[in-house]
Amino acid sequence: MMEKTQFNEQNKKKNFNLLPAVFVGPHLLIFLVFTLIPFIYGIYISFTDWDLFTDPVFVGLENFKTILFNQDSSFYKQFWNGLQNTFFFVLITVPFCIMVPLVLATMLATRPKLHRLFQAIFYVPSLFAISAVMIIWQFLLSVSYGPINSLFGLELNLLSNQPWAWISLVIVTVWWTIGGNLVIYQAAIGGVSGDMLEAAELDGANAFQKLTKVVIPSIRFQILYTTIMTTIAQFNVYGQPLMLTGGGPNRSTQVLIMNIQQNAFGSGMARAGIASAMAVMLGVCIMVVSIFQFVLMKKQD
């Protein structure tokens, strides 16, 4: 009798434990409505010709054939130019987005004077909205009244000439994103075993050797993780080239997401099908790169 009562009570507890579902539910609902469903719908739209207002017309693989193979089409040129610029942006930005915060975290780990103040200064830019960041840097880099030109006695248009346009984009991006990786590296470096560092010191290792032989190998997982996440983030670059360079000069900084946005939501007739096809291809590229990096991370582990 006692056992039956206990069994029934345990059953009751299992049946009425809705609390976790209620807390997770809103997020899942939002994820479903604003991410998963649009994601699936976007893939469907990539197989259609759609101007947003009227009903989509199914066209099969035509959009993909156009952007991948039809060299006479402007959408082909847009896609490959945008993809090339996106890859280039990732290649030149990600190393700096990793190395700069890593160097800063290493320096802060030595706890110099005012290290907490510097920590805050380095972190604050990552709190700003992208539009605020771009407005600030537009003024700083302005050919009319930017202090950078005045300070160095230059007459350069840093946003409309190469290679300055790319250099400006990299500097702005790194400045804006330092904070995120910085705190991860700081935490990781703080977790490095003091015994290992002491042992290295006893063996005659200098500061640089301790950094390269002890600290960095100890935090390699965090470095790989941040490399993957930074790579994915930079593949989605949009605000910086849109607001700083406008995709110029001569579309040399026009990234793929700008083309996607322009084709889907720009002025005039929308070509949402083409835009979705470009977005699907960009997603495939990001997935391939991410899988490669995850495999690498797993091997390292």
Binding site: F23, F53, V143, P249, N250, G266, G268, M269
Partner: protein, 411 residues
């Protein structure tokens, strides 16, 4: 007990995310005419004030304005028309979009509701009224006209090209004269600000058209090349600003003689106190054939099967009232499209009114309504400086733009 309380609180918080929005959506549309506009900032505030003046007359259907950024307006129109929920009674749309929306079967005709009212072709500027006419039916009712004009620094004109402003028409030849005289003093003759507007005006003045004989958009032609070559020659001669420079700031600081800009910049120009300034037609290629590109925003009625006829009629009543009571809105620098306002002395004293005061001025107005022309505008804006600075060949670039337009329009 504590667990049940926590559970109840969590459910209440979750529901609170959804229910208030749903409730607001239901109650928003009753007994008001909703107007969606892509005009925000101080100009948007003036439109709102004008609408409040209308509401102060206690109409049967007060008007409620929802102002938003242009891109947001387009997105919301898409979702409203596709879901058939929350479709506005009136949407303030740009000139060149009326024919596009009609082609997509998104607009209702005003014909049945303006018949017998003062909202008709005889009471509006012909160019502005014709923007809303598609295949013989009226799909747009003119609101205001935004025009590309030219502001000039009279002090610098007197110094470098005296007498140029006497006849109220400034030619590119006079600008060149001013440029040659002023460039060694570091003064800019021509502020090249918004490329598309400058291009459109000169292109039309040179005899260009945005559609060919078959009705397809055209930009890859000799006149477009000549237009851009002219701007390039001005840039190379040192008569214009450099890429990236703030042309409005340069003008307001007394560094520029002639600045083509929009009538909507009026309130900013009125802050100038250091020199005498004026406003006139956009620079002309031929003084004997004045052409003035303009836009005429339209009140359009998007399709809504559930909209009762009373609301459509009430919307016409609002537009009719606006026809003779637009002063507050016009303080933004916009021009009226209503001929009734030409009898308003306060309006006639506004600087921008010169654009429609005389029959000659009204005849000079050209409104670009070619379907899809906004694609050309966007591409010109993006590529103009590359062409002026010689980074790309003009003919090749125009051919590329033509290809983009053809592909986007599905030709």
């Amino acid at each position: 007990m504590m667990k049940k309380l926590t559970l109840a609180t969590a459910i209440a918080m979750s529901l609170s995310l959804v229910l208030p929005t749903a409730y607001q959506e239901v109650s928003a549309q009753e007994n008001v005419i909703t107007v969606w506009s892509g005009v925000t900032g101080p100009d948007g505030d003036l439109i709102r004030q004008n609408i409040e003046e209308y509401n102060a007359t206690n109409p049967a259907y007060p008007v409620e304005l929802l102002a938003m950024e242009g891109a947001t307006l387009n997105s919301r129109l898409v979702t409203a028309t596709r879901s058939k929920e929350g479709v506005p009674d009136l949407a303030l749309v740009a000139s060149e979009t009326v024919s596009q929306y009609v082609g997509q079967n998104l607009l209702e005709s005003w014909d049945a509701y303006i018949e017998g009212t003062e909202v008709n072709a005889t009471n509006y500027l012909a160019e502005a009224w014709d923007v809303g006419t598609v295949d013989g039916s009226q799909y747009g009712l003119p609101a205001t006209m935004g025009t590309w004009v030219m502001y000039y620094n009279q002090d610098l004109v007197n110094q470098y090209v005296p007498g140029a402003t006497d006849d109220g028409i400034i030619t590119y030849e006079e600008i060149t004269t001013a440029g040659e005289a002023a460039k060694n003093d570091g003064i800019i003759a021509y502020g090249f600000g918004w490329p598309m507007q400058n291009f459109n005006n000169l292109y039309l003045q040179m005899g260009g058209s945005f559609s060919d004989d078959e009705g397809f958009l055209t930009i890859d032609n000799d006149i477009a090349v000549a237009t851009l070559e002219h701007f390039k020659s001005m840039y190379e001669a040192g008569h214009t600003n450099k890429n990236g420079e703030d042309t409005v700031a340069q003008f307001m600081n007394g560094q520029t003689i002639f600045l083509p800009e929009g009538t909507w910049m009026l309130s900013q120009m009125e802050e100038i106190t250091d020199f005498e300034w004026g406003q006139t037609f956009t620079p002309q290629w031929d003084a004997d054939n004045v052409v003035q590109a303009s836009g005429a925003s339209q009140f359009a009625m998007f399709v809504d099967e559930n909209r009762p006829d009373e609301r459509r009629q009430a919307a016409v009543e609002f537009v009719d009232w606006l026809r003779t009571n637009q002063m507050t809105w016009l303080e933004s620098g916009e021009n009226t499209a209503s001929l009734a306002m030409l009898e308003n002395e306060d309006y006639l004293s506004m600087p921008q009114s010169f654009l429609i005061q005389t029959p000659e001025a009204r005849e000079a107005i050209r409104i670009i309504t070619d379907e899809g022309s906004s694609h050309i505008f966007g591409e010109i804006d993006g590529a103009a400086w590359d062409m002026l600075e010689g980074n790309v060949d003009i003919k090749e670039k125009l051919a590329e733009i033509q290809q983009i337009v053809n592909d986007t329009m599905g030709y």
